[in-house]
């Protein structure tokens, strides 16, 4: 059975095919052990900017482009920069072609997605990653870009960068808040190969412990909608991080049930709960009656791995660059929590 189909069949039959599942997990785990790390960037290297999801006006991208150039990188603007097809950054074919160019262009050392929105899943199966395998490069973004993180993790076994995108760069760097500067600098540092250490803060709901494993995750809604597909991830033996924006509590609950019922919480090494921002307002008298803490903790009550709440990742200013696929160590005790790249 070819790999793609095998992974696809896992989703629908997970509980019934335990041997197959463990075999697949092994296969994925083996692959992850030998994760491919794209070359880190040096001064003069080129970052290609493309819009695989939502559209972004070219003028809105200028602060990011200027800043990236100040860092000493060159920038190639893809054809989808400033393009628009309704909510998308161009038609499916335009977005696919632009991303494909970024993959294939030997001068591009990293691919920065301009913004999220919706659309990555509409082109992912039409992309040809064969030259990417020969010349892996960092794919950068979050939110809808979770599709790329998951797909590349499972299918290529390559590390990717979950990070802020062009739409998060401040218009005026000199007037930016410290957290904005710090998080965007974390993107630069990550690209240049610095081993990053994050302070996860203190939360009384945290479950203490230490864990080591490959870091994997992203937007919870996207992780759910990739279940059963060739882009689905195995979370066994990994540290999972999740974040989301604009969801109702019941929907967050249901998505955590998807993780739980598809076995994605069973064999984790650790769980990082990022921000769940703009949670939909509740109708008085009709409240969900459970907090985000309750929702998460009841799903992991049978497990003893560490859990960190309020980790600085998500649709908010405090959203640090995270290297997906790379081994990290998570440490949580009563007084602090940290995540460091090993």
């Amino acid at each position: 059975m070819n790999r793609k189909r095998f992974i696809a069949s896992l989703g629908s039959a997970s509980a019934l095919l335990l041997t197959d599942v463990s075999k697949a997990s092994e296969a994925i785990a083996t692959r992850t052990k030998k994760i491919i790390v794209p070359p880190y960037l040096e001064s003069g290297d080129t970052i290609g900017i493309t819009c695989p999801s939502g559209f972004m006006l070219e003028k809105d991208m200028q602060p990011a482009i200027e800043q990236i150039k100040k860092w000493g990188f060159q920038v190639i603007e893809g054809d989808t920069v400033g393009k628009r097809d309704f909510t998308f950054g161009g038609t499916d074919e335009e977005r696919r072609k632009d991303f494909q160019n970024m993959i294939d262009n030997p001068d591009v050392n990293a691919i920065l997605c301009a913004r999220g929105g919706y659309g990555a899943v509409r082109i992912i199966d039409q992309l040809d990653f064969s030259s990417f395998k020969r010349k892996p490069k960092w794919v950068i973004g979050f939110s809808d870009i979770t599709v790329f993180h998951s797909h590349l993790h499972t299918n290529i076994g390559v590390a990717t960068l979950h990070s802020k995108m062009c739409n998060s760069f401040p218009d005026d760097w000199s007037k930016a808040e410290p957290i904005q500067v710090e998080t965007i600098i974390s993107l630069k540092d990550a690209l240049q190969g610095e081993k990053l250490v994050y302070n996860g803060g203190i939360c009384e709901k945290n479950k203490p412990g230490t864990a080591e494993g490959a870091l994997i995750g992203g937007n919870l809604k996207l992780l759910e909608t990739m279940a059963g597909t060739p882009s689905d991830i195995s979370t066994d033996g990994k540290i999972l991080f999740v974040e989301d924006v604009g969801e109702a509590l019941y929907s967050i609950d249901r998505m955590f049930y998807n993780l739980k019922r598809s076995g994605k919480l069973d064999k984790l090494k650790g769980l990082l709960v990022g921000s769940f921002t703009s949670i939909k307002a509740e109708t008085p008298g009709d409240e969900f009656g459970r907090t985000l803490y309750d929702i998460v903790l009841e799903k992991v009550k049978d497990f003893d791995y560490p859990v960190c709440f309020g980790f600085p990742v998500g649709h908010q200013r405090s959203n640090f660059a995270l290297k997906c696929g790379i081994k990290h160590r998570l440490t949580i005790d009563a007084n602090h929590s940290s995540l460091e790249e090993i």
Binding site: R5, A8, S9, G11, S12, S14, A15, L16, G54, F55, D85, F86, T87, F88, Y118, V121, R122, D125, E224, T225, M226, A227, G228, T229, P230, S231, D232, Y250, D253, R254, M255, Y257, N258, R261, S262, G263, K264, E282, D286, E287, F288, G289, R290
Partner: protein, 303 residues
């Protein structure tokens, strides 16, 4: 072979419970009296009218109430008060041992899709995707959709038809009918409750979703292999659709159509299965024939 629960006879008992969202008792009062008029005894569960925040009770209360009704041999069918959200929270704790020995009709839709899918996948027992208690109110119990539920419970063979739609793809298909709410069908992928769709007639409906999200869910179904080998596809109502500030650029039926246009099986759009009044009782798991002709669509049960 699919196992068919015994159809109901006069004097049989129908339980009414709420396994998900809260429902005030009075909103089910019409339903209860209509069921009695139809000749059934009605046993309201403890979760009808009870409330725990959004839910009709705590997980334990909802679980216990449904479990009692599943286990009680006197209860020949369970009609759910309403959907909402909550089945996913209790499905793995339900014990179907007695239900498997003595199957009974489980009646509902929306969040109840979790139960339809789970029971079909795990036990191969037919269930009834149909209007729930609130749909009986305001004199609506006389409409053809509630009447279709009445007939289905008695063992009538269903034979539904509707108008053609410009996006329909003509053809004839036979297969077991499965489906329900798209959000739930997608949500269940990867779990032990997920539908297997090969050779089946799949029906889907949804309410209050963003068009882009429907698009994304259809892609999930497609990419997880659920659309390739269907016998036929029935797209029901996709009502109260929302769009983003920058429009998605196409309506919901065209979005759905774009993901199934490469296949050959018959497809119909706007079939009367939905969160609106037009919501025929559909027997999940039973053999059906879908006939999409130029001028008309029929979906009928085959025995």
């Amino acid at each position: 072979m699919i196992k068919i629960p015994p159809y109901l006879a006069k004097g049989d008992t129908i339980a009414v419970v709420c396994p998900a969202g809260f429902m005030p008792y009075e909103k089910a009062a019409t339903c209860i009296s209509v069921l009695q008029d139809w000749g059934y005894k009605v046993r309201p569960g403890k979760t009808l009218g009870s409330q725990f925040h959004y839910f009709s009770g705590t997980d334990e209360e909802r679980l216990a109430d449904l479990q009692v009704m599943l286990d009680d041999k006197e209860v020949k069918a369970i009609l759910f008060g309403r959907g909402g959200y909550g089945m996913s929270r209790i499905i793995d704790q339900l014990d179907f041992k007695l239900f498997k020995k003595h199957p009974k009709w489980l009646v509902g839709f929306s969040d109840i899709t979790v139960l339809h899918a789970h029971i079909y996948r795990q036990f191969n027992i037919a269930t009834l995707h149909a209007p729930m208690a609130a749909a009986f109110n305001d004199g609506e119990y006389e409409n053809e959709f509630i009447q279709s539920l009445r007939k289905a419970l008695k063992g009538g063979i269903s034979n539904y038809s509707c108008e053609s739609h410009t996006l329909n793809r003509t053809g004839k298909a036979e297969g077991e009918l499965i489906g329900g709410n798209l959000s739930l069908v997608a949500h269940l992928i990867g779990s032990v409750s997920s539908f297997k769709t090969k050779g089946k007639i799949l029906f889907l409906e949804d309410v209050g979703e963003y068009i882009y999200n429907v698009d994304r869910m259809m892609i999930q179904l497609k990419r997880s292999g659920m659309l390739q080998q269907l016998a036929g596809l029935v797209i029901g109502g996709f009502t109260e659709m929302k769009d983003t500030t920058t429009p998605f650029g196409t309506d919901v039926f065209n979005a759905i159509h774009s993901h199934i246009k490469e296949y050959n099986y018959p497809v119909c759009f706007d079939f009367p299965v939905s969160h609106e009044k037009n919501n025929y009782a559909l027997k999940v798991g039973m053999m059906h024939q879908l006939y999409v002709s130029k001028n008309k669509v029929t979906l009928k049960e085959i025995r």
